[in-house]
């Protein structure tokens, strides 16, 4: 196992133990703060590499999506027009339309591509937001959502070339059976999207989708750290990104 993964597991294990331990001790006292003990993950530029060869090993696998949507209380809305999704599978035909041709191998043509917010370096959604409710955080490069400030104008949804954003057309709580208690829901009238699990990162945990993928298809790390997994993968594999010609500099790379 690599060093990073060992560190993840160590910190994750400790954090879980501390939190569950304290719950048993005294319910009405201040929650312990394992994250303060230097257990948070820090980076200057978070990025993700998705190995498509490892991804479609199991037919109809939805582990990354399920983990993400459960972790973040993403509602399951039956009406397709109103659906909310942070990470999901698109066909190659839709995700990489300009890369496809008549003789693209069948295995690639039909492989499902996990797509999510690309946390672009030059994000058009941030450029258009009138209140900076979505902004690129200086500390770690994550394109963040400030749900306290969003006015629901949906300009960011219009500006995103990847269709990564979803709007709450109705009250999401009516479409949730179980609510994960340690993370808020959103309310109707705001836009939401993947936040690279910034709350988990602070606790020293990898993003939920990365953790949930049992085939190791998703790798997450700091692009500015030359020893990170993502840098190693990018240097040894040919990767493509979605719609690179638009100049958005997406930070989700795909190994085809």
């Amino acid at each position: 196992m690599s060093n990073d993964r060992r560190k993840f597991l160590k910190v994750a294990g400790f954090a879980t133990l501390a939190v569950t331990g304290s719950r048993a001790l005294g319910a009405a006292n201040l929650a312990p703060t394992p994250w303060l003990k230097g257990g948070g993950l820090e980076a200057k530029r978070w990025a993700m590499v998705i190995d498509l060869k490892k991804c479609h090993q199991q037919e109809g696998c939805t582990k990354c999506m399920d983990a993400c949507h459960l972790e973040h209380n993403v509602p399951k809305i039956e009406i397709k027009k109103h659906e909310i999704k942070w990470i999901w599978k698109e066909s190659f035909h839709h995700a990489f339309h300009e890369q496809e041709h008549e003789h693209t191998p069948e295995s690639i043509k039909h492989s499902p591509i996990p797509v999510l917010c690309n946390h672009c370096d030059n994000p058009p959604c941030v450029r258009v937001c009138p209140t900076e409710a979505t902004f690129k955080r200086e500390s770690d490069g994550i394109v963040m959502m400030d749900w306290h400030r969003c006015i629901g104008c949906r300009y960011c949804v219009v500006g995103c070339p990847y269709g990564a954003r979803s709007f709450n057309w109705e009250d999401p709580r009516e479409h949730m059976d179980d609510i994960t208690e340690n993370f808020p829901t959103r309310m109707k009238g705001v836009v939401e999207k993947c936040t690279f699990c910034e709350t988990r990162l602070r606790k020293g945990l990898p993003p939920a989708c990365v953790e949930a993928c049992e085939y190791g298809a998703l790798t997450f790390g700091d692009l500015d750290d030359p020893d990170s997994e993502v840098r190693k993968l990018l240097e040894s594999n040919y990767t493509i990104r979605r719609k690179p010609q638009l100049g958005t500099e997406p930070q989700v790379y795909y190994i085809v």
Binding site: N29, W35, N73, I179, P184, R202
Partner: protein, 128 residues
Amino acid sequence: MYDGGKIIAGLILFLILITFPIWWNIAGGTTDFEADPKIVTTEKSCIYEKEYMTTHHMDVLDDWRDRVVRDDVRAFHSDALGRDVEMSLSHTCMSCHPNKSEFCDECHNPMGVDPYCWDCHVEPKEGK
């Protein structure tokens, strides 16, 4: 003035109507209430002194939410407690005050305050 009687009568009627909520509640005796929020924690203090928290908890939360979400800062040093806490409504505040109906609502309900925090932040389960 022309139609003076009608105008003055109309003005008085308007004043009565516009101050309706005030005199109706005074007459009905619903303006007196003793708010007694129940504190169930054994911690010696809140993150600020009690008097300050009572009057300024909304400002504290407003400041926290910007610092956490926008500045990626989670640690807050509480002088009253003498240690660092996490700036979080659900994890910090509600861990000492999980009894929302006996604590938060004790004052909010008679005052007619309906903070929208709970539209998103998950309320702690009580008495379950």
